[in-house]
């Protein structure tokens, strides 16, 4: 256990330390209310990070998630207000849009053969550009009450996002850890030819991974639009960096193969605990940013050292 999940163990230790330190720094930190609220605030990043774990485990990367989110957010508004579709129908279409964005990334990477970094750097600009072009910089507001329930409401006393995140976490964890499909993605990340020669559906799995990434970005868009009850074309700017930080911090190798959902969850929690705890302790946002950067680099250096020692 320790041998294969050393990084996760270290990370869990870090999370516990951070939790303890932060709770001493601020009495409001370790309260149910605050914890639940943090769950609500991290929902969009977390949802996309869960999908991104699959992408990175498969040996790829998706820089376009923030722009996909922006495009989906804008289309939510445009389809509903400008095209006059019922909001319920729009909510059914938006995930499809996210899926298409993801599939287009997959097409560029799998069929055209572009490196994922470049393909999604291109679509990062393209999707954001489409969002800006379609919206003509107008924001859409005035969403009905029931729609706000998704992003602002609660079910059984827990914020909606907590439920969604919980379900997504379990589903992602099960898929990556326990299913044939998860195993396939992992095998591809470690060695694409070996997976191919073992008769695993390599291209199918890669398409699926990017499609799910786009899908997650579109769901994050719906959550976000509902939470803030407005639509802007700059939504999700920089999301990709937050997401990748959490996933990499969670021990997923940027070269693919290694990675767990638990790790990503811990990475997300650690970042959120740092952001929230430091903020409550009176450290300003810029200081927190520095600390997160330092933690990211140091965790990886420590991981690299540990791995070297195990190898020797």
């Amino acid at each position: 256990m320790l041998k294969r999940h050393g990084h996760e163990t270290v990370l869990a230790g870090l999370v516990v330390i951070a939790l303890v330190v932060m709770s001493f720094q601020s009495a409001q930190f370790l309260t149910t209310g605050n914890m639940l609220n943090q769950g609500r605030l991290m929902a969009e990043v977390a949802l996309v990070a869960l999908a991104m774990t699959f992408v990175i485990v498969s040996g790829g990367i998706d820089l376009s998630v923030g722009s996909t989110m922006g495009l989906c957010a804008i289309l939510t508004g445009v389809l509903w207000q400008n095209m006059g579709l019922p909001l319920g129908v729009v909510l059914a279409i938006i995930p499809l849009i996210g899926l298409i964005c993801g599939l287009f990334n997959g097409f560029l990477i799998i069929r055209v053969g572009m490196p994922p970094l470049i393909a999604t750097l291109g679509t990062l600009a393209l999707y954001r550009g489409l969002a800006e072009g379609i919206s003509q910089a107008r924001s859409v507001r005035g969403y009905p009450e029931w729609f706000a329930a998704i992003g602002q409401g609660s079910i059984l006393g827990l914020p909606t996002q907590i439920w969604i995140l919980g379900i997504a976490l379990i589903v992602a964890g099960v898929i990556l850890g326990l299913t044939r499909w998860g195993r396939t993605v992992q095998a591809i990340g470690y060695s694409e030819p070996a997976a191919h020669f073992a008769g695993l559906p390599v291209n199918g799995a890669k398409y699926a991974v990017y499609a799910v990434s786009g899908l997650a970005a579109s769901l994050a868009a719906i959550l976000f639009v509902s939470r803030v009850s407005t639509t802007r074309s700059d939504m999700g700017t920089g999301l990709e960096l937050d997401v990748i930080t959490a996933v990499v911090l969670g021990g997923t190798s940027i070269f693919g193969g290694r990675g767990t959902i638990i790790g990503t969850a811990l990475g997300l929690i650690l970042v959120q605990v740092l952001k929230n705890g430091l903020s409550l302790a009176g450290v300003r946002g810029d200081g927190t940013l520095v600390l997160i950067g330092v933690v990211l680099v140091l965790t990886l250096v420590a991981g690299a050292f540990m791995e070297n020692r195990v190898r020797r």
Binding site: L178, W181, Q186
Partner: protein, 508 residues
């Protein structure tokens, strides 16, 4: 330790290796290797895969630091901590997997890392002129030195690499299996070049498996076995058989425990299969219980044929019948579902996912079966892994050990175990014993015979002629993408097969 038995030619050796050893972690790749290399001699370095030849070559190239022993250049003890130092010491190496830069021009490849300078800057004009000269010297008079190397043929690239070696005025040239990927004509031309260099007084260490070549050009041969120096022989005073028994350490017969198995009806019938220039109009029939050996040089199209049969590169034309029914194989997945299994040539990259445990490697090809509704049934997976693990006698701490930590032979057993779980009709083995030590090799051979005995139809590709000849019920010879000959076991002599392998069109 044995001292070289034949006295070296007059004058001191250009390069002496004294008791060199090398360990990778717990694995001893090389124990007490020694040899002397004289100026103006071609010295063959021989040994089976895994005998430590490549390790020795890499140490001499300055790419690995030896764990012990000494290297003497012109009688002076010299450390070779880096490739640069090796080059400065006058040692040049043409590596087996050509280490070149495909995006750069021919001229630059010749000089990579050792650029001619004028005023501290790279002298491109000189570089192009000199590259042209060097290549002309290697019979490449019209080669455009401004072409990107990636656009050249393998033989040409190799010549560029030799030109690079010559450019350093190397006194010691090491060629690691230079003809492995060459056709006959190119190989001949290479040998001529080697002889010409010998005449200039260059000391040449020539690593090869090809007996006829070695006897054509070598002055002396040294043999390594299991990382240990065994002996050095004068070419004129020894025979092929004697060398082989030095290499394998026992008579060749014992190596291949071929058991006679009744051959059943046809399982796989291939007619007119074609795909690109490397697989042309292949037709053959494979029977139940039969081992059909495929002999051919690297690049002859044998692996490509396997890839077509396994759906890696689906056929462009032709038919495949399995048990009389026509099947289409569009992907490895389809091949697997039809009952065809393939143990690939490149075990490390294609056969195994090295960082994963044995269990996950064995279950990989049967994930569909053991995961109803997509969820992997752990108990079933463990059972599958255990069955494969036990059946092949994988030597490891258990199915949870990481596959990459195993020895080559045990890794190969894991790959075979993976495919046996699919209950295939046809098993294609591509270089099943490459890089595997002698003991494990025999085990794999026994296993292959056993599987044939159980009724599997086996297609076995190998570069080692003795292996093909000893193991096969029939031998199919491939050259330039075509099946040149199919010989029954009794007619398959090394001469006949060798002739078919290298013969030009006439044989078809």
């Amino acid at each position: 330790m044995t001292i070289a038995q034949t006295p070296p030619p007059a004058g001191g050796p250009a390069l002496s290796v004294r008791d060199i050893s090398k360990s990778f972690g717990p694995v001893k790749a090389l124990k007490t290797a020694s040899l002397d290399l004289m100026p103006g001699e071609v010295h063959a370095l021989m040994g089976e895969n895994g005998a430590g030849k490549s390790t020795l070559v890499k140490i001499l190239a300055g790419m690995h630091a030896p764990s012990g022993g000494a290297i003497l250049v012109d009688g002076v003890q010299t450390a070779l901590p880096s490739p640069r130092r090796a080059a400065e010491a006058g040692i040049a190496v043409v590596h087996q997997e050509l280490l070149l830069f495909g995006e750069l021009t021919v001229a630059e490849n010749v000089f990579a890392g050792h650029y001619p300078r004028k005023g501290g800057m790279v002298d491109w004009a000189f570089m192009r002129r000199r590259a042209q000269e060097l290549l002309a010297d290697l019979d490449c008079h019209d080669l455009d030195v401004d072409r990107k190397l990636g656009s050249l043929s393998v033989a040409m690239r190799q010549r560029v690499e030799i030109a690079r070696a010559l450019n350093h005025n190397a006194r010691v040239l090491i060629l690691d299996e230079p003809t492995a990927a060459l056709g006959e004509r190119d190989a001949d031309r290479l040998l001529e070049i080697v002889l010409r260099l010998r005449a200039r007084g260059v000391a040449i260490l020539y690593v090869s498996h090809r007996m006829n070549e070695i006897f054509r050009i070598s002055d002396r041969m040294s043999v390594l076995r299991d990382g240990t120096y065994i002996a050095t022989r004068n070419a004129r005073e020894t025979t092929e058989g004697a060398l082989i028994s030095l290499m394998v350490g026992r008579p060749v017969d014992q190596m291949f425990p071929k058991t006679e198995v009744p051959i059943g009806g046809p399982v796989l019938e291939v007619r007119g299969l074609s795909c690109g220039p490397m697989v042309r109009e292949a037709s053959f029939t494979l029977h139940k219980g039969e081992i059909l050996g495929i002999a051919g040089l690297v690049g002859s199209g044998r692996t490509e044929l396997a890839h077509v049969l396994f759906g890696v590169t689906p056929a462009q034309s032709g038919t495949i019948h399995l048990h009389g029914q026509e099947i289409r194989i569009a992907s490895p997945r389809a091949a697997r579902d039809a009952g065809i299994a393939y143990v690939p040539e490149d075990r490390g990259a294609q056969g195994l996912v090295k960082p994963l445990p044995i269990r996950e490697n064995i279950s990989m090809a049967v994930l569909d079966r053991i995961s109803p509704a997509g969820l992997i049934n752990r108990a079933k997976e463990a059972a599958v892994a255990k069955r494969g693990f036990d059946m092949l006698g994988v030597r490891a701490s258990g199915p949870e050990q990481i596959a990459g930590q195993l020895s080559g032979g045990n890794q190969q057993k894991v790959v075979i175990a993976k495919w046996l779980q699919t209950n295939p009709w046809v098993l294609i083995l591509d270089e099943p014993t490459r890089g595997i030590d002698v003991g494990a090799k025999a085990e794999i051979h026994r296993l292959i015979c056993e599987l044939a005995g159980q009724g599997l139809a086996i297609l076995m590709i190998s570069s080692e002629l003795p292996e093909v000849l000893a193991m096969s019920d029939r031998v199919m010879v491939i050259a330039e993408g075509r099946i040149r000959a199919t010989l029954p076991r009794e007619d398959a002599t090394p001469e006949a097969v060798g002739h078919a392998m290298t013969a030009r069109r006439s044989a078809s």
